[in-house]
């Protein structure tokens, strides 16, 4: 397969970037998208050029490291996958593929296609945890009865891998789906009730401080989320927020 790649190149956070074209031959349909970029980088290194910087880690859809806006969509044209799970068989010989970093002011570009998503870490640090006594008499979480439906909803919310596709897809670069998933995974469980009020207030405050946009309920985040995190979580966070604001 022969491809024409248009890739965003940017030396560092402060310099101005631009799209650069790279023709690439010998791409196999069974390669993952990241393997295709590996092939390109080997070519560039052999030619003495700077390889394209991009994020990756587990390469099996778990870590959420691989980002990339591919042909105008986060993680490319397929649904409920990350970029490492996207295969080149989804493209045709002669295709032009436009590859850009996730765009949001809260996700500044570090280099080329790699962006700084530490804003998500700071939102988590603001309240995405529970305090547990670990002095030796810790109660087994399974000893607390939880109704199946709530346990399932909490688990589904907890499957968010923090990849940032929700922000990348949203026309407003809003992080509400991510934040709401992290609020919901605790709000639904008894263990999360102790810090429930502070959690939602602090996480939403941090989200706003990071400079993400406002949610306008377009639903793009839900469609592009590789883990299928539902908009129900945003509605739950809104309820939690109002309740916490009145209490707190």
């Amino acid at each position: 397969m022969k491809l024409n790649l248009k890739i965003w190149r940017q030396n560092d956070a402060k310099s101005k970037g631009k799209m650069v074209q790279y023709p690439l031959d010998g791409v196999d349909g069974d390669m993952s998208f990241l393997e295709m970029l590996d092939v390109l980088n080997e070519e560039l290194i052999n030619k003495g050029e700077e390889p394209v910087e991009f994020d990756h880690d587990c390469r099996e859809g778990i870590c959420g490291a691989c980002s990339l806006q591919i042909n105008g969509e986060p993680h490319g044209p397929d649904r409920k996958i990350t970029t490492c799970q996207l295969h080149m068989r989804k493209f045709n010989d002669g295709d032009t593929i436009v590859i850009e970093p996730f765009r949001a002011n809260a996700f500044p570009v570090i280099k080329d296609l790699m962006v700084d998503r530490s804003a998500f870490d700071r939102i988590q640090q603001a309240g995405g945890y529970i305090s547990v006594n670990t002095s030796g008499n810790t109660v087994d979480a399974n000893a607390i009865p939880i109704e199946k439906e709530k346990a399932d909803d909490a688990f589904n919310a907890a499957t968010c891998i923090g990849c940032g596709a929700c922000v990348a897809a949203c026309k407003n670069a809003s992080a509400m789906l991510f934040t709401s998933a992290k609020v919901s995974q605790f709000a639904l469980l008894p263990q999360g009730q102790v810090e429930a009020t502070d959690r939602v207030l602090n996480m939403v405050r941090q989200m706003d401080l990071e400079g993400f946009g406002n949610c306008t309920n377009t639903g793009a985040c839900e469609v592009e989320c590789p883990k299928g995190i539902s908009l129900e979580n945003i509605a739950r966070m809104n309820r939690e927020y109002v309740s916490a604001s009145v209490k707190g």
Binding site: K6, W8, M19, Q69, N71, G72, E73, P77, V98, E100, R103, A104, N105, A106, A169, K171, N172, A173, S174, M176, L201, V204, R205, M207, D208, G211, F212, G213, N214, C215, T216, N217, T218, G219, A220, V223, E224, L231, E232, I234, A235, R236, M237, N238, R239, Y241, V242, S245, V246, G248
Partner: protein, 220 residues
């Protein structure tokens, strides 16, 4: 409580509440207008009551004007804020693959509806104020229906009216259901609720268009 005033969620809820208020007003306005199709007398009675009742004029009307201004100003403020959250735009962005056009372009449909409000104020609201408070004409309870018929004779005005209500239908198609989501309502009843809001988004603007066309065609 300060977060409930300044946060991004507070802004969503404020938009939703003002939107619900305007939806309620729209339904009321449509019901009153629809009486003009069946009976000039009933339309005149409704209009006379609304135009002369102290509670309506001194309390409800200012609240309505505030609600309209608040919803539009907040909408534009949010649009500017949201645009600023992504300073460098994508070279290629396929928004249509994951979200409907109406949901991504509320600012366009909203701006057209705002322009229509300007026309509507120029046509009805401002002349009404001048008639009552500047020229101080004696109140004539039968003047409302002939005034309505007169306004609907200009085909350009009818064209603008129809176009604006089509855009209002698009605005409501996303906005009405979206307001429930903003208020935290997303449960097993939400798909049914969404259908109800979509029926409202079509029926109410279509009724306004019908009333305008009815009087335009019957007036000739």
């Amino acid at each position: 409580m300060s977060g409930l005033i300044k946060s991004s969620i507070a802004r969503k809820i404020a938009m939703a509440l003002s939107g619900f208020f305007l939806v309620f007003f729209l339904l009321f306005h449509c019901t009153v207008n629809m009486t003009s199709v069946f009976s000039a007398d009933i339309y005149n009675q409704f209009s006379h009551f609304l135009g002369t009742n102290f509670v309506v004029q001194a309390l409800m009307q200012p609240v309505l004007v505030f609600g309209i201004i608040f919803h539009f100003v907040m909408g534009f403020v949010l649009e500017i804020k949201n645009r600023n959250s992504r300073s460098i735009r994508y070279t290629q962005y396929k928004g249509g693959t994951n979200a409907a056009w109406v949901s991504r372009n509320m600012i366009i449909s909203g701006a057209v509806v705002l322009a229509f409000f300007g026309l509507h104020f120029y046509d009805f609201f401002i002349p009404e104020l001048i008639h009552k408070y500047v020229q101080s004409h004696p109140e004539d309870p039968t003047r409302y229906f002939p005034e309505l018929i007169h306004k609907f004779q200009n085909p350009v005005r009818i064209g603008l009216y129809v176009f604006s209500f089509v855009l209002l239908a698009l605005h409501l198609w996303h906005g009405f259901a979206s307001a429930f989501q903003s208020m935290g309502v997303n449960n097993k009843y939400s798909p049914g609720l969404k259908k109800v809001t979509q029926v409202f988004a079509i029926v109410v603007p279509a009724a306004f268009i019908f009333i305008a066309l009815f009087h335009h065609l019957n007036g000739h």
